[in-house]
């Protein structure tokens, strides 16, 4: 995938995260599209590092436009992208269970870093309260990631179910 194509995905996610996505909210929760894209792109495209670069850029834009302080989102997304690049060494990208495990670890890492940074910025919310809300977002995001993964894996790994294809 070319850089500009990946950039368009991130741009759309950035624009619809706070607006159009609210129409598919379940119980007042929506998936975190930016995080989903960072996870999926970092997991499927190792060399190009789309997740890391666009995560930093659009995370920064997100905080500037919608955040209370600037920094927590891009820092958390960059660390998550790096963590996925490391985890990827031990995971089979063709196996969806690997994708789920990496996603769950990444989501928890993201929200933990995000919460820690907001705590440093003086936001009073507790860890248990923050995660009690985040768990629904994580589940919703996991469903979205599964959907994106099933579409994209066919493009990333041709004939991925046939190991003997020549």
């Amino acid at each position: 995938m070319r850089y500009w194509k990946a950039g368009i995905f991130f741009l759309i996610a950035f624009l619809i995260q706070n607006s159009l996505l609210n129409m598919i909210s379940i119980g007042g929760y929506t998936p975190n599209l930016l995080l989903c894209l960072v996870v999926i792109f970092s997991f499927l495209y190792e060399k190009d590092m789309y997740g890391l670069i666009y995560g930093a850029v659009f995370g920064l834009l997100y905080d500037v436009c919608y955040g209370y302080v600037v920094g927590p989102t891009p820092i958390a997304l960059v660390i998550v992208a790096v963590a996925i690049l490391i985890m990827r060494e031990y995971a089979n990208i063709e196996n969806i269970i690997s994708m789920w495990i990496v996603s769950i670890v990444s989501f928890n890492l993201y929200y933990l870093i995000n919460w820690g940074l907001y705590k440093m910025a003086g936001i009073p919310l507790g860890l248990s309260y923050a995660f009690s809300n985040a768990v629904w977002v994580m589940l919703y995001s996991l469903a979205v990631i599964t959907l994106i993964y099933m579409i994209m894996i066919k493009r990333v790994v041709k004939y991925h179910k046939d190991r003997y294809f020549k």
């Binding site: 624009l15 607006s19 159009l20 919608y66 209370y68 302080v69 920094g71 960059v78 248990s128 977002v137």
Partner: protein
């Protein structure tokens, strides 16, 4: 230098994280308030985001209308009945307003000082809200063109919502009162002489204490802003959920359920 040349990727990553950390520190030091980049970007993106937001709202309302046609008809009938009742109340209120005006004229003649609770407000729709973030910051579709500025107080029909942290042409960013660490001075709605202080707590509610340990505050009491501090007097904050006496601090500590349902906010009013 040799290490950097040999580990270009790690060095680049560390540099990126250091830059982001510096931006974060600068942002925290500046108090999370608006900056020139934020204003420029928000002005640029608010039009596009508003388009998506209104598109989402129209699609949601349209889909809901198709699915729940019968429910809507029932709701319309109920609303018509309510409308009739409200029209009767309005007629009564007009009479009372005329009486109030006469009393105010009389008060003016007698040089009587009274506190007016009439706020100058601008109504706005919640345009952007990220439900994937546990922090409840949201944007509204009115801004500096309507007289809204950073620090303006946001309320809704139920009570206190929060304050505007940044504003531009056609947009304003709102920080909910429960997510902010700042303290709110309050009085009991039933007795204005009983004062206290609350702030957002770790569980998405308010907690605080009464200034007088002999206070008669009880579960179910309604709290309103006292007028001291940034919030004007008379705005409902919430209802007391529990009262405990702290023998260490020698004060009555309270936990307060916010009056506003922050997840269901669609329309708000901004005091200007």
């Amino acid at each position: 230098m040799k290490w950097i040349r040999e580990h270009k990727l790690i060095a680049s990553l560390l540099s990126l994280l250091v830059v982001l950390a510096l931006i974060f520190v600068l942002s925290v030091v500046s108090g999370g308030e608006g900056n020139i980049f934020s204003a420029v970007l928000n002005n640029g993106t608010s039009g596009i985001s508003d388009f998506f937001s209104s598109l989402g709202g129209n699609l949601r309302d349209g889909a809901a209308g198709i699915i729940s046609h019968k429910d809507l008809q029932k709701e319309i009938d109920e609303l018509e009945e309510k409308n009739d009742a409200l029209e009767r109340e309005l007629a009564q209120a007009k009479l009372e307003a005329a009486q109030l005006e006469q009393l105010q004229q009389l008060a003016g003649l007698l040089n009587y000082d009274y506190t007016s609770q009439v706020f100058n407000v601008v109504t706005a729709d919640v345009s952007l809200r990220d439900n994937s973030n546990w922090l409840g910051i949201f944007s509204i579709d009115r801004g500096t063109e309507a007289g809204i500025s950073a620090g303006s107080i946001v309320i809704d029909g139920a009570g206190l919502v929060g304050r505007v942290t940044e504003a531009g042409d056609g947009w304003a960013k709102v920080m909910p009162a429960i997510d902010e660490g700042s303290k709110i001075s309050f009085s009991l709605a039933r007795d204005g002489s009983q004062l206290g202080v609350v702030a957002g707590n770790e569980k998405g509610a308010f907690s605080g204490y009464m200034l007088d340990d002999n206070s008669t505050v009880a579960e179910g009491d309604i709290l309103i802003s006292s007028g001291m501090g940034i919030y004007p007097a008379g705005i409902e904050i919430g209802r007391v959920k529990s009262v405990t006496y702290s023998s260490d601090k020698l004060v009555k500590e309270i936990v307060v359920e916010p009056a506003v349902n922050f997840n269901g906010l669609r329309k708000v009013a901004v005091i200007i």
